[in-house]
């Protein structure tokens, strides 16, 4: 029984990590700029499609027809020559193999630009307006992003293979001194979890140990006073928006091998991650991370057959149910500060 529970716990980690990363970005934006960003799921999706684009470029190939040979069904044989391999040889093959992790390098600057552009271009005008209007404009932006992706990449999911070395399963049970081959876990999910841990740790370290982070934290506590001290807090908050976009984008890139991205990926994750933010407590960064993992793991447990036998359909609604209960019983969420958005 312990093995089963431990396995479900592990299964919840990768989804929980994705929720935590998206919720972290949402909370950064809400905590700094006070904006409820319904377009954050779209940023996650844009990141995923950065990976798709990178792979498309890396796997570009020339197609020539070899007139001397025929394919088994008698048509002229097409010779496909991958360009990257032709130019770079074995190194090119490695590049293609590792296209997903490599895309992160390209995703970071792109998402930073997208985030800063979004904030300067549109969201900046909505600080003084109501939360309802912020929801509406970002919801509109999310629709636009989703439709642009749909018209460029088509409506079908585009599978992204993971690097060949990282396929297969890790025998975690054996590592922990248990019986071999009882608890196995796909390597890529493990990597996703570690990656999420590194990113989350990085964001917290950035906020905690750098002067920039200190100023941002001060601004989150009291924006006006920090502004009066002669610090250009608006610019730092803009950069934080860019950082949130980068976190969402990287989360999207690394998630592509687990779930082939399609155009409504963002919307699918958006609703859930909003629920995560609310459960964790609006504006609380540790709360967002904790709630992300908590809900991911709860969802994993709810989809066990034993649980479903007692509460049919619980796996479909568990996250919403938790959110409703938390909101009704403890509106500031698990770790929300007293008085912040308590209404």
């Amino acid at each position: 029984m312990f093995e089963v529970i431990f396995l479900q716990f592990l299964n919840g980690l990768d989804k929980g990590a994705a929720y935590a990363l998206i919720a972290l970005g949402l909370t950064l934006v809400f905590g700094t700029l006070g904006v409820v960003n319904f377009a954050h799921g779209a940023l996650f999706m844009l990141g995923a499609f950065c990976a798709v684009t990178v792979r498309m470029f890396l796997t570009m190939e020339t197609v020539t027809i070899d007139p001397e040979k025929l394919s088994p069904w008698g048509a002229p044989l097409e010779v496909r020559e991958p360009l990257v391999q032709a130019w770079l040889g074995d190194f090119g093959a490695v590049l293609v193999n590792y296209s997903v992790p490599l895309s992160i390098l390209i995703t970071i600057p792109i998402m930073l630009l997208v985030g800063i552009g979004l904030e300067r271009g549109i969201i900046k005008h909505f600080y003084k307006r109501s939360h309802a209007e912020q929801i509406l404009v970002t919801f509109g932006l999310a629709i636009v992003a989703q439709e642009v992706i749909k018209s460029v990449f088509g409506p079908n999911p585009i599978p992204q293979p993971m690097p060949t070395d990282l396929r297969g399963a890790a025998d975690i049970g054996a590592w922990l001194g248990m019986q071999a081959n009882v608890i196995t876990y796909p390597v890529w999910r493990l990597i996703y979890f570690i990656f999420a841990g590194v990113v989350i740790g990085g964001v917290f370290a950035f906020l905690q140990f750098t002067t920039f982070g200190m100023v941002v934290r001060a601004g989150m506590a009291d924006r006006e006073t920090v502004g009066l001290l002669g610090i250009n807090i608006d610019r730092r908050f803009t950069i934080m928006f860019g950082l949130a976009a980068v976190v969402a984008g990287m989360a999207g890139v690394m998630y592509t091998p687990l779930l082939p991205p399609n155009y409504h990926l963002g919307m699918d994750f958006l609703v859930l991650s909003f629920v995560v933010v609310v459960v964790g407590g609006m504006g609380s960064l540790p709360g967002a991370v904790a709630a992300g993992f908590l809900l991911g793991i709860l969802q994993s447990f709810a989809s066990m057959n034993q649980v479903k036998a007692i509460f049919p359909g619980i796996d479909q609604i568990i996250i919403y149910l938790v959110a409703v209960i938390i909101l009704l019983v403890r509106p500031r969420g698990l770790m929300g500060r007293r008085g912040v958005m308590e209404a």
Binding site: G140, L141, V144, M267, Q316, I317, Y320, L321, P331, M341
Partner: protein, 380 residues
């Protein structure tokens, strides 16, 4: 009559009635004068009017209204299946059921306000949607959708000794509700719905709701308990949504869970915002515009575009066709999203505010003395 309705209200109501009833005539030149589309105009008009009673008057932004719409549809189809094919019992049944559903959900959701309220309604709607697809399949028939079959029991019809052959369709007093009959049936309900909304907006109850929107805290300090008022608005608005859902089931007796998805809730929000939040006719106009363009733009294809741009030189025409084809057909949601973003940024009051601004500009240029704005802001 003067005590019953002010003259302006009466004119607005009569004008609205005439416009709605004459729709098959005046929409014909725009390529929208056919019953199928007109029925949807009416149905989503009702949905948007109802949504506006909650969002426009009280300021509570619900992101889960499609749940009531879907419940209304399911209730109506069940009435067709179990009781009778007549539309009236189905409508009553659907409105009652969705009203009860709204009462339960509203009672819980209205404990919070602002974004928390939005998330709560969203969570309930998503729960309904997910359950309709999974556990509640005996009631909802899952992905296939609930539909009428010849083998349904239809207790009342059987008691009346009516028998059917062929595919059962909803009727009204024995008359089939297809085509223009269906349109006028829906139009009657839209006019009724508009009338009730107008009466609510002008009543002391409506004033309470507007007061909740402008400053709920002050209301509470004055000694009012605001929650019963907000809950009444929520239930009324849920009943409107149920009515609209039932009408959709009358015109097309097939209820599916996708009507409850949160994107469907988003659509009614778009309609209301696009038309003008808090105005009476705005949401209806928003619903009509969205449904009209959904119909027109999604029907366009590259051939039609090529004909449209054919006056340009060869290369430029091809280029324009490639560009514009992204915005029509399957991509019309892109146009909708862009239009929506632009409206929220530049015209938060929607189309009605645009009309008002243009009218004001004309008035100003007509009479040289500029009149100061009559609207006063409450002192904070």
């Amino acid at each position: 009559m003067t005590t019953f309705m002010s003259r302006n209200d009466l004119f607005l109501f009569l004008g609205f009635t005439v416009v709605v009833l004459a729709m098959p005539i005046w929409l014909a030149p725009f390529g929208a004068g056919y019953p199928d589309l007109l029925q949807r105009f009416m149905i989503f008009g009702i949905f948007a009017v109802g949504f506006n009673i909650l969002f426009g008057l009280t300021g509570y932004l619900s992101f889960g209204h499609a749940a009531f719409f879907g419940v209304g549809s399911y209730a109506a189809v069940w009435s067709f299946k179990l009781l009778t094919l007549d539309a009236i019992p189905a409508m009553i049944f659907a409105v009652v059921i969705s009203g009860l559903f709204a009462l339960v959900i509203g009672f819980l959701c209205l404990r919070r306000s602002g974004i928390y309220f939005s998330i709560l309604t969203l969570a309930f709607a998503q729960m309904s949607y997910n359950l309709a697809y999974s556990v509640l399949t005996p009631i909802t028939n899952g992905e296939t959708g609930l539909q009428l079959t010849l083998a349904d029991s239809r207790v009342l019809d059987a008691a009346m000794g009516q028998t059917f052959s062929g595919q059962p369709v909803p009727t009204l007093l024995g008359q089939q509700l297809g085509g223009y009959a269906g349109f006028y049936f829906c139009a009657g309900f839209l006019i009724l719905a508009f009338f009730i909304a107008q009466r609510i907006a002008g009543s002391p109850f409506g004033m309470m709701l507007k007061a909740i929107k402008s400053n709920q805290t002050r209301m509470q300090f004055t000694g009012f308990n605001t929650r019963p008022y907000a809950l009444s608005a929520f239930v009324i608005s849920g009943m409107y949504a149920g009515l609209a859902g039932a009408l959709l089931a009358v015109t097309d007796p097939l209820a599916g869970a996708e009507r409850m998805q949160w994107t469907a809730s988003g659509e009614v929000v778009l309609m209301t915002i696009l038309g003008g939040v808090g105005t009476l006719v705005g949401p209806v106009i928003g619903a009509w515009i969205i449904k009209y363009f959904e119909n027109i733009l999604s029907a366009l294809n590259d051939n039609i575009l090529a004909r449209f741009w054919s006056f340009l030189p060869e290369g430029a025409a091809d280029f324009m066709v490639t560009i514009t084809s992204k915005f029509v057909g399957d991509g019309w949601h892109l146009t909708l999203g862009l239009a929506f973003v632009i409206v929220v940024i530049f015209l938060p009051g929607g189309i009605m505010e645009g009309v008002r601004r243009i009218a004001a500009a004309f008035r100003r240029s007509g009479s040289s003395s500029a009149k100061p704005s009559a609207r006063t802001q409450p002192a904070e």
